[in-house]
């Protein structure tokens, strides 16, 4: 028990500290690296909750793909971050004011937090008994049965995103020599190799 609590506090503290560093680090590359640290610790928290599938997905998708993509973008785009930060102090009062107003509004909302009385009965989560099925299997069973429509719809949205990216950016270039695999395979020994008998000491 105590180990679990210790682990929780360690992951949580590091995650929050890394989160703070993401927005306060001077060098954007460092920010992205701190972001990766935050993701790893969040994955640790998921493991503690028994959601190992989500933890692995977080590491693979967010650390493996998204964060690395960020890193590439940050390194490739030549953005002058010092210049972007100029005017920060100038906008601080008005930004701070809006922040305070939002905070007060949020407090009001939380003060009036009364969940509709019926909500408890309604929100019976379609959950499986986790002692019987593994995490991944439980998610899969829900995703491919109850939520199949939404799953497929999300797939269609991604397909349209792909088509859109191709439509808007792909420009066919003329004069590019392409590898033609069938032509290469069709070549025979007779048309590509010629054997010459070379007599010694004579040359061709």
């Amino acid at each position: 028990m105590i180990v679990q609590a210790l682990a929780f506090y360690m992951f949580a503290t590091v995650a929050i500290a890394a989160g703070v560093m993401v927005i306060s680090a001077r060098n954007p590359v460092h920010s992205v690296l701190f972001l990766i640290a935050a993701f790893f610790n969040a994955a640790g928290l998921f493991v503690l909750m028994g959601a190992e599938f989500l933890a692995m997905i977080l590491v693979i998708v967010y650390v493996g793909a998204v964060a690395v993509l960020f890193l590439f973008v940050v390194m490739m785009l030549d953005i002058n971050f010092v210049e972007m930060r100029q005017g920060f102090l100038q906008y601080l009062p008005i930004g701070g004011l809006i922040g305070v107003i939002l905070l007060i509004e949020l407090l009001f909302v939380f003060a009036g937090w009364t969940v509709t009385p019926d909500a408890g009965n309604v929100a019976a989560l379609p959950m499986f008994d986790l002692s019987e099925v593994s995490n991944t299997r439980a998610l899969g069973r829900l995703l491919y049965t109850k939520y199949i429509y939404l799953f497929q719809a999300a797939g269609l949205v991604l397909l349209v995103a792909m088509i859109g990216a191709i439509v808007l950016t792909l420009r066919p270039r003329k004069g590019v020599r392409r590898q033609k695999v069938p032509d290469q395979v069709r070549r025979t020994r007779a048309e590509s190799v010629e054997i010459k008998k070379v007599e010694t000491g004579k040359g061709i």
Partner: protein, 482 residues
């Protein structure tokens, strides 16, 4: 534990068919290349027509699928038919245009089909998540189509502007939906309705509702979320603008009505005042802002904002009569706009598209048939009897009067008088000004057919009134019975 109920696809058959055929056509396009865009477009129209038949063939009564996420009722059927008709018209109207402007790429009809699929999913959404996914499928396709002429700065600007503002509105919608979920504990419309009928709604839920309304108001382009409309309408290729003005409006309006009436019907006192405000603001702003427009596409953008204002009167009333009025108005709006945009697409001189209102000068003398048809559409937009537009306004205003919302009706009538100025100015320019340059002819067989068809529908509207009334009545009733 596993049940096979989720495989009961029957109610969603049209959507499944449309999705599968779209992907089949996509494969065809990928392997055959851009040279086959025309034939692919005709295939797209065929697919839309078959989907329309499947929708009409649907089983009567209210049906749910996928565990209640997806709903088919008379309202959904009616709106899907309307959206499919609008999309088919838009695809047909694009045929000549994309070839002339050299943007005929095979993805063009495919994206139209995907957008239509998104619309059908929006119309049938019975859950906040399904609503959002349908909306995104539709919007994402529209962003790409808006920027389809990628070598033109205005088109890409339109696409980018639409994308950024659309993403913002989706964000608002999602924020609202998450608050609704947080306070009500469910995203399903049926369960939301049950929860809200049972007891008073907490403040947080109403805050969420306001955000959802804002997001939806953006999608139908109602004031104060209308800023993107004129720029996007002006910048996008003209047939795309025609599509924007017709089909997505139908879908977004249907979604708006369903969300307000079905899950949040019990909160009508809360959302009624918001809708009343949006409606009045849209009517008034559109009437005054359009006066100064010189570009006919911008004018049509403001005109569509105004029409949305009139339709929202029907929603603000919140009764069966109001919704039925809205449905009739929407039907007339679709045909009226298809016709008007067909006219705009014929405004070409020396092989170039012209978009100024002054370019129409003297059309009554240089091209009498087109001028006559356009006059009919302008009369209809104004709402002059006996053309169709009058009846649309009539049923909407009658619903408002019967519900004793006199202010709304009076402001509606007054703003339509102001709007008459800029619609009738077009008629004046066509008949009384000195002729400008002639437009290129011939305009093509498809265009003539669309012009004649929609024109006849608008002018000789009398025989259509009673079937439309019956259809709209059945559709509206299905919403209230649940």
């Amino acid at each position: 534990m596993l049940s096979w109920d989720f495989l009961a696809l029957q109610p969603a058959l049209p959507e499944v068919f449309l999705a599968l055929s779209t992907m089949a056509l996509l494969m065809l396009g990928v392997f055959r290349g851009d040279g086959h865009t025309r034939i692919l477009s005709w295939f797209a129209v065929l697919v839309l027509g078959l989907t329309l038949l499947l929708v009409l063939d649907g089983i009567g009564g209210t049906q749910r699928a996928f565990g209640g996420i997806f709903i088919v009722d008379a309202f959904a059927q009616y709106m899907k038919v309307l959206a499919l008709i609008g999309s088919s018209f838009a695809v047909v109207m694009s045929l000549g245009y994309i070839e002339r402007e050299k943007i005929a790429r095979f993805e063009y009809p495919i994206l139209f089909l995907f957008a239509t699929l998104g619309m059908m999913m929006m119309i049938s959404a019975n859950d906040l998540i399904a609503l959002y996914l349908g909306l995104e499928l539709q919007s994402l396709s529209l962003y790409v189509i808006a920027a389809f002429r990628r070598d033109s700065t205005r088109s890409t600007e339109a696409g980018l502007k639409y994308f950024v503002l659309g993403a913002l509105s989706s964000g608002m919608l999602l924020y609202g939906a998450s608050m609704v979920y947080g306070f009500a504990g469910t995203t399903g419309f049926d369960r939301l309705a049950a929860v809200l009928d049972a007891g008073a709604a907490p403040v947080g839920l109403i805050v969420g509702l306001v955000f959802v309304v804002s997001g939806l108001a953006f999608k139908v382009a109602a004031v104060p979320f209308h800023m993107w409309t004129p720029d996007v309408y002006e910048g996008a290729p003209t047939p795309v603008t025609a599509f924007f003005a017709v089909a997505p409006k139908v879908a977004a309006m249907a979604l708006f009505v369903r969300v307000m009436i079905d899950p949040f019907g019990a909160l009508i006192t809360q959302w009624q005042q918001i809708i009343v405000f949006i409606s009045i603001a849209s009517m008034v702003l559109a009437a005054f802002a359009a006066i100064d427009q010189r570009n006919i596409k911008r004018l049509m953008a403001y005109s569509s904002i105004g029409h949305v204002g009139y339709m929202l009167i029907g929603l603000a009333v919140g009764t069966e009569e109001g919704i039925s009025g809205l449905i009739i108005y929407l039907t007339i709006y679709v045909f009226m706009n298809v016709g008007t945009f067909a006219c705009i697409l014929c405004m070409r001189s020396h092989g170039r598209m012209v978009e100024g209102i002054d370019d129409l000068a003297g059309l009554g003398r240089t091209n009498a048939p087109m001028a006559a048809v356009l006059t009919a559409f302008m009369f209809s937009m104004t709402g002059i009897p006996p053309v169709a537009g009058f009846f649309g306004k009539f049923f909407i205003f009658r619903a408002a009067i019967n519900a004793e919302m006199y202010t709304l009706a009076v402001i509606g009538v007054l703003s339509s008088v102001v709007a008459a100025f800029y619609y009738l100015r077009i008629v004046k320019v066509m008949y009384f000004d000195e002729p400008a340059e002639r437009f290129d002819r011939p305009i093509g067989r498809e265009m003539s057919l669309i012009l004649v068809g929609t024109g006849l529908f608008i002018v000789f509207f009398f025989p259509f009134i009673s079937p439309l009334l019956t259809g709209a009545g059945v559709a509206a009733r299905s919403l209230f019975v649940g």
